[in-house]
């Protein structure tokens, strides 16, 4: 930590050393900087050695140890400078992401119905290991889904056309190419479409506790005391297989391109290579798979609300606020040393936060920038942020993705039993339904960093601004 220089509020820099091509930058309060373990620091430095990396290897305040790349990091590469693409920079759970659905309801009025809502949703949304998907898909159907993402879901009766306007990239990555996906990934994908998964994935009913920017909140359709629903889920076994397949393919291909990496999990290939292009095409299938998943699950949660509250989802005002990825690599235009460049931005455990005026923000959010959704861990607050111009320069328009783990799963399991975690959260008035006790113990609030401190870091560094804070009322976990 002694090597890090404080550049300005919450922005620390480690100058180039050894094989690093660019400096490393950490965005965090001093408290959180010291919580970043040595292994994660090594990973941030390792990423800085990769060919074609631009500006800096970035770690966000929720940064922690991952595979090759730390989780909670951003790295952008220029294909014209031999820049690479790396599955480790995206993660096994491609397009693990978050969706926020609004309602016109006051949480206080609906509080007595939360338990019933959670129970009904538990029955409607398949979750947990081996949770049987409700969407019947053959190979041809899956290929359509992989090509069109959330659009496929809407065209097959899951949700409304206007939902697509409030999705990152309209929920449909045109770069997807199902022919670049292995048979194994197809076989894993078919039975799991429309399932929540397990681990830290959840469906949570929340109350908007505080609004920090009235004007922007209004544009997002949010108000104080409002009942909202947050969904956190990814690309399931499909994404895991795509990542596994291409890590292996790239390990074999790296010798061909004369690339050597300090850690096998940094396996990569030039963006401008067959392996690179194929991975990008397959990864975008994973992105679309997760978009379609979250679209279908939102449809069921609307059905659940409608059933319990006796009104249509439309009359309940259940519009999609936004859907965002936090494990992905995207082609975006960014300025580097005054020059406009097209870069491949890897965000692993990081959330895009494009400010107003960017072409990524069309329609409703062009004047404000889109919502950046930050889920808290179980029992803690979640936030809606918005991006800034400074964020564009400092972190390629990226903010944190959550709280980040502070305690290993084995340590968390030694700490408290799942039943105890459930009891403690229920004592605070929260309804919990989980598919597994062990899962609850691993996800105990103490196992994570302090989300408020993480958000504080983002704001103090000026890369994002708070719009709203939500607190959990009821949660369903796989």
């Amino acid at each position: 930590m002694a090597d890090f220089k404080l550049l300005r509020n919450c922005v620390w820099e480690l100058p180039k050393e050894g094989m690093m091509r660019v400096p490393a930058r950490v965005i965090a309060t001093e408290k959180l900087l010291h919580e970043i373990e040595q292994g994660a620091m090594e990973q941030i430095k390792n990423v800085a050695t990769l060919p074609g990396i631009q500006k800096y290897s970035i770690a966000l305040p929720d940064c922690h140890f991952g595979y090759g790349f730390a989780i909670g990091g951003v790295a952008a590469f220029d294909a014209k400078e031999g820049g690479i693409v790396s599955p480790g920079g995206v993660g096994f759970d491609i397009n693990c992401g978050v969706r926020l659905v609004r309602t016109s309801l006051q949480a206080a009025e609906i509080k007595p119905k939360i338990k019933e809502l959670i129970d009904v949703l538990f029955g409607l949304v398949p979750a947990g290991v081996g949770g049987k998907g409700k969407i019947r898909l053959d190979e041809a159907g899956l290929r359509e889904l992989l090509q069109h993402g959330a659009r496929w879901a809407v065209e097959n009766g899951y949700g409304w056309e206007k939902d697509l306007l409030h999705c990152e990239d309209n929920g449909e990555m045109k770069e997807a190419d199902p022919s670049k996906v292995s048979q194994k990934a197809m076989q894993r994908g078919m039975p799991q479409s429309g399932t929540l998964g397990s681990g830290n994935h959840f469906l949570e009913i929340q109350m908007v506790q505080e609004i920090f920017d009235e004007k922007i909140a209004k544009k997002f359709g949010l108000f104080e005391g409002q009942l909202v629903v947050m969904l956190h889920s990814g690309s399931r076994g499909f994404g895991h297989q795509v990542a596994t397949d291409y890590i292996e393919a790239m390990l074999n291909a790296m010798k061909k391109y004369g690339i050597s990496v300090p850690d096998r999990q940094l396996a990569c290939a030039p963006i401008d290579s067959d392996e690179g292009r194929d991975y990008i095409a397959a990864m975008n299938c994973g992105v679309n798979y997760a978009f379609a998943n979250r679209q279908a699950m939102m449809h069921w949660l609307r059905e659940g609300f409608s059933k319990v509250l006796g009104q249509s989802a439309e009359s309940l005002g259940m519009d999609l606020v936004y859907d965002i990825c936090h494990n992905v690599a995207k082609f975006e235009q960014h300025a580097v040393d005054g020059k406009k460049k097209e870069l491949l931005v890897h965000r692993k455990g990081a959330t895009r936060a494009m400010p107003a005026g960017r072409k990524e923000n069309q329609g409703d959010y062009s004047g404000t920038g889109h919502p950046a959704l930050i889920p808290g861990s179980m029992g803690t607050a979640s936030y809606v942020l918005v991006g800034t111009e400074l964020g564009l320069q400092e972190s390629f328009a990226s903010v944190c993705h959550g709280a980040g783990r502070a305690m290993s799963r084995t340590a968390a399991m030694k700490g408290k039993r799942g039943e105890q975690v459930k009891r403690e959260l229920e004592a605070k008035g929260e309804v919990i339904r989980g598919a597994s006790w062990a899962g609850l113990a691993e996800e105990a609030p103490e196992a994570y960093k302090d989300i408020d401190e993480v958000i504080r870091s983002v704001e103090l560094a000026g890369i994002g601004r708070k719009v709203a804070k939500m607190v959990p009322l009821g949660v369903m976990k796989g």
Binding site: V129, Q187, R405, S408, T410, G478
Partner: protein, 139 residues
């Protein structure tokens, strides 16, 4: 024997056995032990696995990832493993028979899922008169 070991965000799985094959078997048990209570998974159905790799460590990762693929593609959990490893050319070949049953939330005391075996803390080595096979799995 098998066990899990500490990792910040995920879990390490380790198998110890008299031969490389037995160490792989135990490592697979450690991995499925993260997902379910293995004592409750009866070996009702058997599947075969055939793999090749340049070295034993890659072979372990491929083996564990193949099991995860079968878990999702066939909806199965495995509790019984018979693994044979032989040299083949410059590398190694693995033949395995794995037994288990369809995932049943009511019966299997499900704990959580495993996304993939990684190259992290990957080791297959001779140790204390036998062999150890380990890696970290992403959960």
């Amino acid at each position: 024997m098998f066990e899990t070991f500490e990792h910040k965000a995920d879990i390490g799985v380790r198998g110890i056995g008299a031969t490389e094959g037995k160490a792989f078997e135990e490592c697979a048990k450690a991995m499925f032990g993260i997902i379910a209570d293995l004592k409750k998974v009866e070996a009702e159905k058997f599947d075969g696995i055939e793999l090749k790799a340049e070295n034993l460590e890659e072979l372990l990762v491929k083996f564990l990832n193949e099991l995860l693929f079968l878990k999702d593609a066939k909806g199965m959990l495995y509790s019984k493993f018979k693994v044979y490893i032989t040299s083949e050319g410059p590398g190694f070949a693995l033949h395995a028979k794995v037994g288990g049953g369809k995932i049943d939330a009511a019966k299997h005391s499900l704990r959580g899922d495993v996304k993939a075996a990684t190259y992290h803390q990957l080791r297959v080595a001779k140790e204390g008169g036998g062999f150890v096979a380990q890696c970290v799995v992403d959960v």
